[in-house]
């Protein structure tokens, strides 16, 4: 370890490792620190990710792919099945990863690109001078260090403190976080080809249960409920109930717990000499809770922006707006759309969810497009689509049709 770097990245999850890799490939002197002794473990994830998205950033390796799925099956509270193709299923469906191996592979990529990596090293504070973040305070094996950098990137996950230290309030309200519990189970009745989702206010109040196959009769079976519906230990209790009914003979071989931000885009993710990436920037999807790809995507941008800012010798918040603007233009827009959907779904009764699923019966969603899906919903649920109209603005066909139908 040196006492100065161009960039320090705090946290070696998918967001931090991608940031470090890109910044190092841009020629910067990068330090990636991770407080855990083992990158990627314990897992805090259901490990679902869209194949095509992922391939843009890393070559698929069987070492970290547990399973490949064909699509998703969604069950409404009365058990009505809605089946969707992989393409329609979004950023969370395609591969089911082995995150312990995946996160390590990404850290290795960062290291191969030239970044220095320090494990068992925890950022404990920021070095701030004249209103600029100038480095970090860190603790490693009981010793304290001060390490300087032109830019610090907080990729420190859901429990992020880096933003708070720089004056960015990233505290989540209970309703803005999804509290989760999951088991890896082994059972002979797991469908190996589909990611399954179970909806219903009894099963998972304002949330869902997922079953993501991991090959060889293994699956991640988990639950996420919105924080304001939670109570002491409720997530795990509800999960135990579900598993007792659905997989009575399974064996549980791993317990996973965690929280996902579902707040939508926050006001600010940069400060003088600082950027936030991934869960630390609350960039996970408010509806699905998916955040692996978002963190990688944003990390890649942050790495490039860090290089640009350092090249122009200006690491002020103003200069780092380049990052803020770039991620908001695409991901920020998606998060805001998802938030509209989430707010609407939060208010849905089981009856409404059932009606929605019934309206899709007979529609072949394996071959349909997103527009096709919207049409199908549209026919039966004008009110719902009206509530959600803001998310279709910009999609011309749908927008005009929603207006025409609803005003008739």
């Amino acid at each position: 370890m040196k006492d100065r770097y161009d960039v320090i990245v705090v946290g070696a999850g998918p967001g931090g490792s991608m940031t470090a890799r890109t910044a190092a490939l841009e020629g910067l002197d990068v330090l990636l620190i991770e407080k855990r002794q083992q990158i990627g473990d314990p897992v805090r994830c259901a490990e679902g990710v869209n194949k095509e998205y992922l391939k843009e950033y890393i070559k698929p390796d069987p070492a970290w792919i547990s399973a490949e799925v064909k699509g998703s099956k969604i069950y409404s509270p009365d058990g009505t099945l809605v089946e969707m193709s992989e393409e329609l299923s979004g950023a969370e469906v395609g591969y089911v990863l082995e995150r312990k191996v995946f996160d390590r592979a990404l850290a290795r990529e960062a290291a191969l690109a030239g970044a220095e990596v320090m494990i068992k090293t925890r950022a404990t504070g920021l070095l701030i001078e004249d209103g600029f973040v100038k480095g970090i305070q860190a603790e490693h094996m009981g010793n304290q260090y001060t390490i300087k950098a032109d830019i610090v990137i907080g990729a420190d996950g859901v429990e992020s403190k880096v933003g708070r230290w720089a004056g960015i309030d990233t505290t989540l309200k209970p309703r803005d976080m999804c509290t989760c519990a999951q088991y890896v189970i082994t059972d002979f009745t797991i469908d190996p080809d589909f990611c399954e989702f179970f909806l219903g206010n009894k099963i998972a109040p304002v949330g869902y249960v997922w079953v993501f196959p991991k090959g060889s009769n293994l699956a991640n079976v988990g639950i996420g409920i919105t924080g304001h519906m939670s109570g002491k230990g409720k997530a795990l209790e509800l999960l135990d109930e579900f598993i007792h009914k659905r997989f009575p003979d399974c064996r549980k071989i791993e317990l996973i717990v965690g929280g996902v931000p579902v707040c939508g885009s926050i006001d600010r993710t940069v400060a003088n000499g600082l950027m936030l990436v991934g869960d630390a920037a609350r960039q996970s999807d408010p509806v699905t809770g998916g955040g692996i790809f978002n963190a990688m995507w944003a990390g890649d941008i942050a790495g490039k922006v860090a290089a640009n800012a350092i090249r122009r010798s200006d690491v002020s918040a103003e200069s780092l707006q380049e990052y803020e603007k770039a991620w908001r233009a695409e991901l920020g827009r998606d998060l805001n759309m998802s938030l509209v959907v989430k707010e609407r779904f939060t208010r849905m009764t089981d009856d409404e969810l059932n009606t929605l699923a019934h309206s899709l019966e007979g529609v072949d969603l394996r071959s349909t497009t997103l527009i096709g899906l919207v049409w199908a919903l549209f026919k039966a649920n004008k009110k719902l689509l009206w509530d959600l109209r803001s998310i279709f603005s910009g999609i011309k066909d749908i927008e005009s049709e929603v207006k025409r139908e609803v005003y008739l």
Binding site: K35, R36, Q37, P42, R44, K120, R122, G157, V158, E159, S160, K161, R164, T170, T171, L172, K173, P174, M177, T179, C180, A181, G227, S230, G231, K232, G233, K234, A235, L236, L255, I256, V257, G258, G259, P261
Partner: protein, 57 residues
């Protein structure tokens, strides 16, 4: 009075840290530490997925 953590139940996931309004909680590596800024708001108790947190008497 402050929040206490049952280390035998805690899955050290950090969910509680993210909702703590005073920043009193910190996920070290495999345990949660609570500092004096805890104001007993109980938000963490409510959201903990395994019920590892409690407010001491």
């Amino acid at each position: 009075m402050a929040v206490i953590v049952d280390r035998f139940k805690c899955g050290y996931c950090g969910a509680c840290v993210s909702v703590c309004p005073t920043g009193a909680l910190e996920l070290m590596e495999t345990w949660i530490e609570v500092d004096d800024s805890c104001n007993n708001c109980r938000i963490c108790v409510k959201i903990c997925p395994v019920g590892a947190l409690e407010v001491s008497k």
